[in-house]
């Protein structure tokens, strides 16, 4: 079964990140080229030419694909602008920083390519229900880098949002910036009941480093540690920015928050 198509898509489209590609697949937008990545791409795009990734574009493959529009990550849009403009190619930055932004982006793409139905369906699938609680369990979200250092994520980050929707309260982070160096005093005082530790890359190594760091003060004193409410998470379900696995991630978080309450 294929969804009915009101008219044939004429624009030649390129996606440059895996998250965008995944959305395109769900909307059944035809692409002419996809990013170079180690992750598995949706079946229908696997044979397409690869144009590098959002950090390093392969211009030769990109031009050869003769695109009309190129979708890039909003963080890194600037670098490519002048070159694409000179080639009279439209560049569009898609924002996937947060959950609502992702939904907006899906809606936008659906309208753009006449896939409103598919978009609506996808959005419906991605709906998550806010949980209301009297008590909000305190949750600390950390993002670990290979090499042993880590950052605290706040409630406006993708994972932070999910935690708050699940009725938790994000603690130990700076409310004004998405990622910051952790302030151990603040964390000690906030005394989180749950700790979620995300690996930015190399999950096995990052998890091991987290374990060691949590043997020292103040982390070993936290209620979360004493009650074994510390969870290591990783891609593809969890990531620093939003992706289509949001339901899985959310139900997992909900479960953890429920346990505490």
């Amino acid at each position: 079964y294929r969804p009915s198509q009101p008219h044939r898509q004429t624009t030649r489209v390129i996606a440059t990140t895996t998250a965008i590609t995944a959305i395109m697949a769900k909307l059944d937008v035809k692409l002419v080229a996809v990013p170079t990545t180690t992750q598995t791409l949706p079946q229908q795009y696997r044979k397409l030419p690869r144009v590098g990734n959002h950090v390093s574009i392969n211009w030769q493959n990109l031009l050869a694909a003769k695109p009309d529009v190129v979708y890039v990550d909003s963080e890194l849009a600037d670098e490519y602008q002048a070159k694409l403009k000179e080639q009279k190619i439209t560049m569009k930055a898609l924002d996937l920083q947060t959950y609502p932004q992702m939904l907006k982006t899906i809606k936008y793409l659906g309208e753009k390519y006449g896939k409103q139905t598919a978009a609506k369906k996808l959005i419906a699938q991605l709906q998550i229900k806010t949980v209301h609680r009297k008590k909000h369990p305190r949750v600390l979200i950390l993002m670990g880098m290979p090499g042993g250092s880590f950052l605290a994520m706040n409630n406006k980050s993708y994972l932070g949002e999910l935690v708050e929707k699940a009725g938790g309260k994000v603690v130990g982070a700076d409310p004004h910036s998405l990622y910051t160096s952790p302030n151990s005093e603040k964390i000690a005082q906030a005394n989180p009941q749950i700790v979620i530790r995300l690996a930015h890359a190399m999950p096995t190594e990052v998890e091991a480093a987290f374990k060691i760091a949590f043997q020292a003060d103040p982390y070993n004193q936290l209620i979360a540690v004493k009650n074994h409410h510390v969870y290591d998470v990783k891609a593809p379900v969890f990531s620093p920015t939003a992706n289509l696995q949001v339901n899985k991630a959310y139900s997992q978080i909900k479960e953890w928050v429920n346990q505490v309450e």
């Binding site: 950090v55 390093s56 031009l63 050869a64 890194l76 002048a82 070159k83 000179e86």
Partner: protein, 304 residues
């Protein structure tokens, strides 16, 4: 100078080989190759050649006029300043990107005047120049990192060169050269200490400023696309200097051609080593200079 000609010749040959590689490698002649040649390969190649010239010679000029052989524009904050201004203006108005080479060049000159108004005044205390410049560089770098929330390595690629970039670089190169021609004959004077040059019948201050402006323009223009390549200018210049033991003017063509050669190599490697993934040319350049440097060290320490 047999050795000099031999060096020049072999480096030129290397350049030509690399130009050929740059234009032909991974070229699929079945599929609209004209577009790729004219819109990607050629502007990129031209810009790389210009960048080599800018990087090598801007350092030569700065080092000479400041009488500080181990200083280049990256260490004085000129490169980081250019990067910062381009990033800043782009955030305000994205159209600036079209003229980034011009903006970079002007930012370079701006930084220069900042420096001339502060650290350069302490001519008699070179250490302050080095420290002050580097502090400025690190300061600009920190701001850029915060502003662009990335590491400064990512995204800078010669693959993004547009014809507009090439044209502006050419204009800035030609403009600079014009002023160079005007004052070029005074360049060797800077091998003497200031107590000597102040007695020679030439407007030292004006000449030094002109050369420094040329250097800042060129470095800023190149940096806008290449990104900062810390210390590359000094390494390029000092390798040639110590290898040939030639004076300022005599080693000028060698520095120029060597810089072009190294940046060509870096860009060719960055472009094709992990094709289709691109590596940032400035990072490759630095990685490249390390082994080149180690090789020379080994050679020299044997010769001592």
């Amino acid at each position: 100078m047999n050795k000099k000609n031999w060096l020049l010749g072999s480096m030129l040959a290397g350049c030509i080989l690399l130009i050929f590689l740059q234009l032909s490698l991974q070229m699929n002649f079945a599929n609209n190759w004209q577009l790729i040649f004219w819109q990607l390969r050629l502007p990129r190649l031209l810009f790389v050649l210009g960048t080599g010239l800018c990087l090598g010679l801007s350092t030569l000029l700065l080092a000479a006029t400041l009488r500080q052989p181990y200083i280049d524009g990256s260490m004085l904050g000129i490169a980081n300043g250019a990067e910062l201004l381009v990033a800043l203006l782009t955030i305000i108005n994205a159209n600036v990107l079209t003229y980034r080479v011009l903006v970079g060049a002007l930012a370079g000159v701006l930084c220069l005047f900042l420096l001339r108004g502060s650290v350069f005044k302490l001519k008699t205390r070179p250490v302050f120049m080095i420290i002050g410049g580097f502090c400025l560089a690190m300061f600009f770098n920190a701001l850029t990192v915060i502003l662009t929330s990335n590491s400064g390595w990512t995204g800078k690629s010669m693959g993004n060169v547009t014809w507009m970039d090439v044209i502006w670089l050419l204009i800035i190169l030609v403009g600079g050269s014009f002023f160079w021609l005007l004052y070029g004959r005074y360049l060797p004077y800077f091998a003497l200490p200031e107590i000597q040059t102040r007695q020679l019948a030439f407007p030292e201050n004006q000449v030094a400023m002109t050369f420094q402006i040329i250097a800042a323009l060129w470095l800023g223009a190149a940096t806008a696309v290449l990104g900062t390549a810390f210390f590359a200018g000094v390494v390029l210049n000092q390798l040639i200097k110590e290898l040939t033991k030639l004076g300022l003017v005599a080693r000028l063509p060698l520095v120029a051609i060597f810089s072009i050669l190294m940046i060509l190599t870096a860009d060719t490697l960055g472009h094709f080593a992990f094709y289709p993934t691109e590596l940032p040319t400035n990072a490759v350049l630095l990685l490249l200079l390390t082994p080149a440097f180690v090789f020379l060290i080994v050679r020299w320490s044997r010769a001592l």
